[in-house]
Symmetry: C2
Subunit: 235 residues, 2 copies
DNA sequence: CGTTTGCTTGACAGGACTCAACGGATGTGG
DNA sequence: CCACATCCGTTGAGTCCTGTCAAGCAAACG
């Protein structure tokens, strides 16, 4: 982790259009910079830890982050993924609880830290902002409900197919249709809520069935309709 | 479902102290009544349905409600329980989505319906209110994360123990330590994310081990510490 | 009082996890 | 730049948990 000497400015941020700050008029957005500190993390480093007390929120400027909880056996469960423009750590701050999860970087990641006091003053100044945060929380709550139903009702095979599609939605594909994230087999299994070995077996099944092609850590999606069918994804 | 001729007044509501409206000063709380409609539901009736478009939010005046999603096989998964003072249906309204779940009454239940326009005008008038909604959503998001980890990592036995404790927290106990909710075996299994038969077997195991006593639909908790241990509940 | 719904038990099959072993990749330090 | 160590990915074997199917009985309900 490295504290950056000069801070990024929200006005310049490429990810602003997809962030919760996107409704704030351009001439007021400098207000968000007040009190801000920027950090750089390497792959594997953590932004915050389960059990600690939140002091503010982190907005991802570049990079990819996994948010996970550690279960009673010490096994991890990824509950959310985030990329540039996404907010992390706001959940616990706003509910007034300690962090219930750890945020760890999947890539080299730069984040802007907005302290609690500044966030609260922003809420007071920009009434649309608390609305946007609320929307965000409510949207994620819906996503969480979906995940709950899937974990409770779908087979490992179905969950794996769905997970691959979710990764596509979240991080997109490279030119050759590979998922644009670097995740270990263990992280994939943690996402799908299964054992690493089961995850590997299902992936190789998918490859034999022509749905995907494995190329080291890279996963190329070859037949999305087939993945949708095996994942029984609605909509 | 019965539309009530006269509406309840928030100022008189016994559940107001534990609702999201509890920060609004008493002399301003009548504002919440504006545009309100009150309904009465019998056990088994639904307040809203998955797929429909939200027009407002429902605040429970008396009664108990389950919020559940229907999975691809038509199997239900309860994602949340609510009681008097709790808000239902706000998630979808505020994220601007259709209902992702159905709310169904476990008891005779009376609710106050606050239309969307009125809620928005309340947000504008009472800045603390949007803050309270946000807190609520963020808190539930934490609960959802807990549920996700449990479903992914715990055994049916462990989840059942945890569920019984959760029901105790949510609805409390009668004088003789029975859970103060009426849930069928099928609803219990839907809560724990398991099959009805598995649910029944685990309950009868728990009874033989002296943790609980079954008396028809009533479940008497006899050893809470033992339940905590078998559920591996943290905190 | 018949019909339907819910509860319970048994038998069975199969999915998914655990344990163990091995080769390959990755990374580190001398 | 090489040797070593560790981590990661993969495969096989075995077990057990958990879901499904079927049937009987009790309870609720109109």
């Amino acid at each position: 982790m490295k504290k950056l000497a000069d801070t990024f400015h929200c006005a310049d941020c490429k990810a602003r259009h997809r962030s919760v700050f996107n409704q704030i008029p351009l001439d007021a957005v400098d207000e968000v910079d007040v009190g801000k500190t920027c950090f750089q993390f390497k792959r594997g480093e953590s932004i915050f830890y389960e059990g600690h007390t939140p002091q503010g929120v982190y907005c991802i400027e570049t990079g990819k982050v996994k948010i996970y909880r550690t279960g009673p056996d010490g096994k991890d469960q990824i509950v959310r993924l985030a990329r540039e423009g996404d907010m992390v750590g706001y959940r616990s701050l706003l509910s007034g609880e300690k962090y219930s999860s750890t945020a760890s970087c999947l890539d080299e990641t730069t984040v802007c830290f907005v302290p609690k006091t500044q966030l609260m003053s922003l809420f007071a100044q920009q009434s649309c902002l608390s609305m946007r945060f609320m929307q965000q929380a409510c949207h994620e709550l819906g996503e969480a409900g979906k995940l709950i139903t899937n974990l409770a009702q779908k087979s490992v095979r179905e969950r794996m197919a769905e997970m691959l599609l979710m990764l596509k939605e979240t991080f997109g594909l490279t030119e050759d249709n590979a998922l644009d994230v670097r995740l270990s087999r263990e992280e994939l299994s943690t996402l799908a809520g299964t054992a690493t070995e089961s995850c590997i077996r299902v992936l190789s099944d998918f490859q034999q069935e022509g749905m995907i092609r494995l190329d080291g850590k890279r996963i190329v999606l070859q037949s999305i309709p087939q993945l949708v069918r095996t994942g029984r994804v609605e909509e």
